[in-house]
Amino acid sequence: MPPALPSAARASNPGATLIDALLSASAAGIIELLSPYPPGWGGTLLLGLLHSIEIAVGATVLGLLIGTGGAFGKLYGGPVVRDLLAVYTTVVRAVPELVLILLLYYAGTDLINQALTAMGYQRVDISGLAAGIAVLGFVQGAYSTEVIRGAILAIPQGQIEAARAYGMSPGLMLRRITLPAMLPFAIPGLANLWLIATKDTALLAVVGFYELALATRQAAGVTKAYFTFFFAAGVLYLILSLVSNLLIGRVEAWSRRGMPSLKDAR
């Protein structure tokens, strides 16, 4: 039997009470904990927020690309393409994001590397950021597909017929007519997807991915000030949402320029 529990030489600062330890209730304590410079953890949280935003932007852009392709595939593709896309959007929308993230996170990089080695190329290292963007982008793509498909269907048929009558090539028509005309119909749905993307980045914490939620968890775990840090993270996410809402309002107004206002339409 060992003599007693071996003691660690690292001393902890004495005199702190239980309440201080749990709550760090004093305002000074909270400010110190959240200060952006070490030993405060504010900088860590902000860095996490930056990573979250990076992933959300990347995932939304990737989702838009997949979504545009997917929408055109669903509308104008052959029967096999249409069925495959239907499987894609159905599966992604029926399975929890957390499960998809785990599956894609492990399977995605593994498959890419196996495919590369099978074709005789060197295997590559996929950074966490790229993996996170790819995984969330894949999920976002399914939702974007539906939003953009709906928006394209909402374009008055006459506009497309007029473009055809002018003899526009499909590419030109896409660039000049379909995309700009679809935008006002798609923006509310896409804006909603952006908000979902910012919140879904938190799920990446579960695969050990460094973003705001994981940064918060680490800070809370080390300092034991769970309430303070989760509250602070909540405030950061909320600010991100509110600022996004503000910008979205502007973009929406811009995309509807020259169209009859919604109030008049009613």
């Binding site: 029926a94 957390l98 908000l195 303070t228 949402s241």
Partner: protein, 269 residues
Amino acid sequence: MAGEATLINAAARTSLWLQPHRIMLILVAVALVLGAAFFMRWDWLPQYYEMGLLGIWRSLWILAVTCFLGFLLAVPLGLAQAAGPFWFAAPAKTFCTVIRGTPLLIQLWLLYYGLGSLFPQYPWIRESWMWPYLRQAWPYGVLALTLSFAGYEGEVMRGAFAGVPKGQLEAARAFGMSRWKIFRRIWLPQAIYRALPTLTGETVLQLKSTPLVATISVIDIFAVSSKVRQDTYLTYEPLLLLALIYMTITGILVFAFSKIEARIPNKIG
């Protein structure tokens, strides 16, 4: 005769659905499933079978309870925003904004790790009848998911209450109904009818949120699959089966809701 007609009808629909390329796709899918069944490891299934069923039961139970409670909470939230005076509307709107503007994961952790770790320092809480519940994890999960559902559905209910045509309420008033009666007989049922189509989507979204409770040590079906992964070091098999389970539950939910919706008269408003 009628039976024969439906049979022919069904056969026609089947043949329309079963085009050659679909048959190919189905064959590919069957091949994939068979491949997964034969080439992947499933020998852990018997050992975790019971635990898995219990996990599914827990997930469904959490889903049902939080949707029900969340909807009850969403009605006053929507009403306050649609018709309440400022001091009711403002807090309700703030609540919905905060819930919708922050990740559920953070809300859950704030409640469980943040709030939950504050309780034990108060002896009266430790001695009260609530303590046996407060020291478990599931009440926090149920609370967080209920609030989340209420936040999203409250916004829907706001629109639903506001969307009930004014004429109906005026007519009810002209009949001399009391305010409570108008609410109970006219306004609320009409608003719920209007909100019903969104309920399918919201319930599926709620189902997809339930695995988050696994991060606060509630053993739902997601936690069971994590356990299998950790015990067997298999990565894909438990996750694939888990995805299949969620897809099945979603399918059943969507089917059940479509049946319910079909029974509700849609000529309203």
